[in-house]
């Protein structure tokens, strides 16, 4: 199925939400490893344009502007990827949205937005890719979860609920497809520098840093390296797990 880094045989990887932040870092990691990478986001960014123009990634980078919560658009994205590369070795479900605010003042529209993308769209996309992996004899799925799904965080109750649900999805799906050489794991990410855009203000971030044993916020590369470990071809005995990567914050 998959080749180790530096190998001549590239793996085909789908990373959702790869245009900025954590997703951008994950895409860069797999491109650097020599893999074929397909990603999607609601809008094109400078990072995407750079990858598209770079001859080093010619023929092994695919981007589509897609709102994954739109099922037809999501299905079309998957068809594009399969039309290009036939099968998928690795799926990283990274796309997600956070809306902050205490629940008593939260709107139903924001609830729908968060659940539609973080959960329903992830399940819809995963279903299609699992079918491809079943037909082609295996694969790796990594769901990007969050420690807010484990510990909770004031003002992120809906977001945290979707991440906790994602971990449940990981466990159930891992049991379903474990016998078919497909592993499914979650990475519960701690707070990253890119979280600035997720509704945490500077005061909250400084408090998080003080409470983190590693003494810093995470970088996308911290998460990308953990993903690389979970999708390694040799790591076929780790499945249905939630790997916390948070600088020790929840230790």
């Amino acid at each position: 199925m998959s080749a180790p880094e530096g190998s001549a045989a590239p793996r085909t990887v789908i990373i959702t939400g790869g245009s900025r932040g954590l997703g951008e870092g994950i895409v860069q990691h797999f491109l650097d490893a020599g893999d074929r990478v397909a990603t999607c986001a609601r809008s094109e960014t400078d990072a995407v344009r750079t990858w598209q123009k770079d001859p080093a990634y010619d023929g092994r980078f695919l981007f589509r502007e897609v709102d994954l919560a739109d099922r037809e658009a999501c299905t079309a994205f998957v068809k594009d990827v399969l039309g290009e590369w036939k099968s998928v070795d690795i799926l990283v479900n990274n796309a997600g949205v956070a809306r902050d605010g205490i629940l008593a003042l939260f709107s139903d529209e924001d609830t729908d937005t968060v659940i539609d993308l973080n959960l329903k769209a992830t399940i819809h996309l995963s279903r299609q890719i699992v079918r491809n992996m079943l037909a082609h004899g295996g694969g790796r799925i990594v769901n990007i979860s969050s420690i807010t799904g484990l510990t909770g965080y004031r003002g992120l109750s809906v977001y945290g609920a979707t991440k906790a649900a994602l971990d449940g999805f990981t466990r159930g799906l891992a049991r379903e497809v474990g016998s078919r050489k497909i592993t499914v794991n979650s990475i519960a990410s701690g707070y990253l520098k890119t979280e600035m855009s997720h509704g945490l203000d500077d005061g909250q971030l400084q408090q998080i840093i003080r409470r983190t044993p590693a003494g810093r916020l995470g970088d996308p590369e911290d998460i990308a390296r953990a993903i690389a470990f979970l999708v390694d071809e040799k790591n076929d005995w780790i499945t249905g797990q939630v790997l916390v990567v948070d600088g020790g914050l929840t230790a």
């Binding site: 079918r131 491809n132 079943l134 037909a135 082609h136 379903e176 016998s179």
Partner: protein, 85 residues
């Protein structure tokens, strides 16, 4: 057997080989499920659905049908071909 019948029987046979059940003979009359048939479980049925879609572009399970025999799977594609003719 025509080309589609041969292909589908080959797909089902290959699926059974994956589960070390190559001793079973697949015919158009073979029932997909149950002890008196090929005994596909739900995951094997999902695999069959996925492989059919992957190789033939569509599949009866994805279309909301529940074929009970290999022949009924073949009939799905025959109906499709007739509808598009």
């Amino acid at each position: 057997m025509n080309e589609v019948e041969t292909r589908i029987v080959a797909i089902v046979t290959e699926l059974l080989e994956r589960s070390d059940r190559e001793d079973l003979t697949v015919t158009l009359e073979s029932r997909l499920h149950g002890d008196d048939g090929l005994g596909l479980d739900s995951l094997q049925t999902a695999e069959l659905s996925a492989i059919l879609e992957d190789e033939l572009g569509t599949d009866p399970f994805g279309a909301g049908l529940l074929p009970e025999t290999v022949g009924e799977v073949v009939a799905f594609y025959a109906d499709q071909a007739a509808a598009s003719a």
